[in-house]
């Protein structure tokens, strides 16, 4: 796994076998706040009342999907399909704008935690108002994610930032950690809002709009702890069984996910490592420039040249800082989000497999005539529908996810390249102007000598 290196054994520039460089981009570089507030002003809002009905396009039977009771069922009508496609093709026609900001620390006798302010602006009819402001903590986001996963087991739910970052964290609530998390939470909610199906999820709506007390009481509803535990035990038992035969396209998908996951993790590590190396380079450069100033103090003829060199190095330091800031904004969070996405994808594949295994085990039971065949046949019918829904949901969402991933990765790396170009252009300008000033001096001195 070593990259090209002729280094001494003490350092290696390839990736170590274990985990490494998992530090979040720290440093004193302030990261700018969210930009979606400006998006709010620019994008026009389209009245999409009709699409309100376009929910849960793929589901046929509510009990199987364990959907929340507020959303109406819709058959897969051609009209609703067209509406959905139109929605996806015109992403500018957003009608739901969300920002996450203003982290605040709350101290109680039991614990300390951070809440984030969430502002929602919308023109949708099903919302009681056009603007909402609530405060939520990480736990609440976790709840939302779990509800979405329950409701749509084979849709690709956007990832949440990690609960903890194990390495390099001294204190849970340092500013960089909070800022990075805030940005990731902002992304999380916006991704849900952009998702053609998830955006109309009722729990999502409640999350965005409910007041504190209303929200807590809503959270307590739903399947109890015991039944949830029971479900997960069953799930484990099923997954132990393993899936018998995955359809071809899902085999391919699984293969892709495995390799993608491996590669994106590597890229995450590489990018973090580059950031770290750049930081250390910057630290050394900051010491390098001033030495020339020190030297100029004991020189006469050379003093000016030395001072100019020092100021060039200083300019290059500034350019490096800018490059680092660009990297930590444009590249690192995107790559890291996709690392989390890859974990999400594997979970989705598992859940799909579980649904299929459920069907397979019932079919097996039927063929071995172990139980009441009539009941089994009915159950199998329902399960076949369930499997078909799940597969279709995943397929469609998969294509959408692939497309998004391509765009996101493309723009992240293009930005990285752009940052590097800007960096080198700045440094080039600095050194070239130094050179010109020195050559001018030379000519001046030469002409003075002639006099």
């Amino acid at each position: 796994m070593e990259g090209e290196c002729r280094a001494s054994p003490a350092r290696s520039w390839g990736l170590p076998a274990g985990g490494a460089g998992g530090d979040s981009p720290g440093g004193d570089v302030p990261l700018p706040g969210s930009i979606s507030s400006s998006a709010l002003l620019q994008t026009e809002v389209l009245d999409l009342d009709e699409d309100e009905d376009d929910l849960e396009v793929f589901s046929k039977d509510a009990s199987l999907m364990d959907m929340n009771s507020f959303s109406p069922l819709m058959p897969t009508s051609p009209l609703s399909m067209i509406n959905q496609v139109k929605f996806e093709d015109e992403p500018d026609l957003k009608d739901l704008f969300i920002t996450v900001d203003e982290p605040e620390s709350h101290v109680t006798t039991i614990e300390t935690f951070i809440t984030y302010r969430i502002i929602t602006k919308t023109s949708r009819g099903e919302f009681d108002s056009s603007e909402f402001e609530v405060r939520r903590r990480y736990q609440d986001f976790l709840w939302l994610k779990e509800k979405l996963e329950e409701a749509h087991p084979t849709l690709i739910i956007p990832p949440l930032p990690e609960k903890f970052i194990v390495k390099g964290m001294v204190e849970r609530f340092n500013d960089d950690f909070i800022e990075t998390r805030r940005k990731a939470l902002h992304k999380f909610l916006n991704r849900i809002a952009d998702h053609p199906t998830l955006t109309f999820n009722e729990d999502f709506k409640i999350f965005l709009t409910a007041e504190a007390w209303e929200f807590s009481s809503h959270k307590k509803q739903g399947p109890g702890l015991l039944s949830r535990m029971g479900q997960s035990v069953r799930a484990v038992a099923l997954s132990m069984k393993g899936v018998k035969s995955r359809p071809e396209e899902f085999m391919e998908m699984n293969n892709f996910i495995e390799i993608f996951s491996h590669k994106i993790n590597l890229i995450d590590k590489i990018s973090q490592r580059i950031y770290k190396e750049e930081r250390e380079y910057l630290d050394e450069m900051k010491e390098y420039g001033p030495i020339h100033i020190l030297w100029s103090a004991s020189e006469e003829d050379l003093a000016d040249t030395l001072k100019s060199v020092a100021s060039c190095i200083d300019e290059c330091c500034k350019a490096t800082e800018k490059r680092m800031s660009g990297l930590s904004e444009a590249l690192l969070p995107v790559v890291h989000e996709y690392v989390l996405y890859s974990e999400m994808l594997m979970a989705v594949m598992k859940r799909r497999d579980q649904i299929q295994t459920e069907l397979d085990s019932k079919v097996e039971a039927l063929t071995s005539k172990k139980a009441d065949t009539d009941l089994l046949t009915e159950e199998i019918g329902k399960l076949e529908d369930k499997v078909e829904c799940a597969n279709n949901a995943l397929k469609a969402d998969w294509d959408r996810w692939r497309q998004n991933m391509q765009n996101d990765i493309k723009s992240a790396f293009t930005n990285m390249a752009e940052e590097n170009i800007l960096y080198y252009e700045q440094c080039l300008a600095t050194w070239e102007s130094f050179l010109t000033s020195q050559t001018d001096l030379h000519l001046e001195e030469a002409s003075e000598d002639k006099l």
Partner: protein
């Protein structure tokens, strides 16, 4: 080419090769050393054509002998320094191994530079031992030895003593000593930090190389993104490998600075010689003054005020003849002493004059060379930036096509 019309300004000297050799040393033990081929060409005709006139091998120790000889016989000259024997201020990639071919190559260039410095020095270029170094294949060491330079060298202890005790050294030399200390300290610091900067820069570039490999592996599972990833990965490899040449060039810049780091010691050597001479002068003057005082005391018979008086009182009176004899001896010594003082004074002034002339020459050379070095550093940075722009522009194109 005879010695008399030997004008080194019309010759070209090059240290063209370095070779590892093994041989037996003075204690009949096997040793490995490096020998260098020195070629001398004279530029005879106006068309600038050069003819190879001499070619011989010298090992490191010969260079050291040459320099030590020059230090002894030209104490008023800032003698050019030799390149370092051991690689110092290294950063991670460079090995500190003296047998490393890159190091040997840089040493070769350094030794050539040393000889060129000697050849372009108005006074040193005319030295016979230097001429023989370039031309006399065998017995050169014996010839140098015969000059007795090793015996003539001032002892370190003597020099240290003089530095502490000298009362009135020329102010300019005190300033020069301070300057050389500052120069040494600041260049050392600069070289150390430069090495660390180089280390970090190496890291930044090389880690990018990992992108190349991973992109290539990833491209295998992508249909639309595959080509873009693959070709971008290639550019990342190019970027990562470009640092090797960049840092190689920078090493030459470091060598230029190192030469002046070592020149600081040469400056101090001149200052030390001045202090030694001045101290010698002061001691001689002090000695003369005390002898004069003695003489006076004897002449005026003021025994009570001098130790001579006390001793003669203690050990009995001396005869007038004895006293006369002593006075005569002292008077002789005083005369001698006065002569010596005069000549030492003259010597001292000559030394200061000549030394200062060379120091002025050195200052001009230093300002010129270091300015050139700093400019060459800027040129290297510019080249590095241009390469960077090109690679990342190519990479950006690949990314945008994904």
């Amino acid at each position: 080419m005879t010695e008399s019309n030997f004008s080194l300004k019309k010759i070209e000297i090059s240290v063209s090769e370095a070779e590892k050799r093994t041989g037996r040393n003075a204690m009949n033990m096997q040793e490995t050393y490096t020998a260098y081929l020195i070629e001398t060409r004279s530029v005879e005709h106006s068309d600038g054509q050069s003819v190879l006139t001499d070619s011989l091998w010298r090992r490191c120790s010969a260079f050291e002998w040459l320099r030590n000889y020059l230090l002894v016989y030209y104490p008023h000259i800032v003698v050019p320094p030799l390149p370092e024997k051991r690689a110092e201020f290294v950063w991670h990639k460079l090995s500190a191994d003296n047998m490393d071919p890159d190091f040997v190559e840089r040493r070769r260039i350094g030794l050539e530079n040393f000889l060129l410095r000697l050849a372009s020095h108005p006074i040193l270029c005319r030295d016979k031992i230097f001429y023989l170094f370039l031309t006399q294949e065998g017995n050169w060491k014996e010839t140098v030895n015969e000059t007795g330079f090793q015996l003539k060298a001032d002892s370190r202890l003597k020099a240290l003593n003089a530095t502490f005790r000298v009362k009135n050294p020329d102010k300019r030399f005190i300033e020069l000593k301070h300057y050389s200390d500052e120069l040494q300290s600041v260049i050392s610091h600069l070289l150390r930090v430069r090495a660390r900067v180089a280390d970090r820069l190496y890291g930044v570039y090389k880690v990018h190389g990992n992108y190349g490999r991973v992109f290539s592996e990833w491209s295998a599972i992508e249909k639309e993104m595959g080509d873009g990833l693959q070709s971008a990965g290639h550019h990342m490899d190019v970027y990562a490998s470009s640092i090797d040449d960049i840092l190689e060039d920078e090493e030459h810049y470091a060598d230029q600075l190192k030469e002046y780091l070592f020149y600081a010691e040469a400056l101090r050597a001149v200052c030390r010689k001045h202090e030694l001479m001045q101290y010698d002068l002061e001691m001689a003057a002090q000695d003369l003054a005390s002898k004069k005082q003695q003489c006076e005391e004897l002449a005026t018979g003021g025994e009570l005020f001098s130790i001579w008086g006390v001793t003669t009182q203690l050990f009995g009176q001396e005869t007038p003849e004895q006293r006369e004899a002593r006075i005569k001896m002292l008077e002789e010594q005083i005369k001698e002493g006065e002569q010596q003082l005069k000549s030492k004074n003259l010597e001292g002034r000559e030394f200061v004059k000549n030394a200062w002339a060379d120091i002025e020459r050195f200052k001009e050379q230093k300002n010129h060379d270091l300015k050139e070095a700093l400019i060459s550093y800027a040129v290297m940075q510019i080249s590095m930036c241009k390469k960077g722009i090109q690679v990342w522009t190519n990479a950006k194109e690949c990314f945008s096509k994904m």
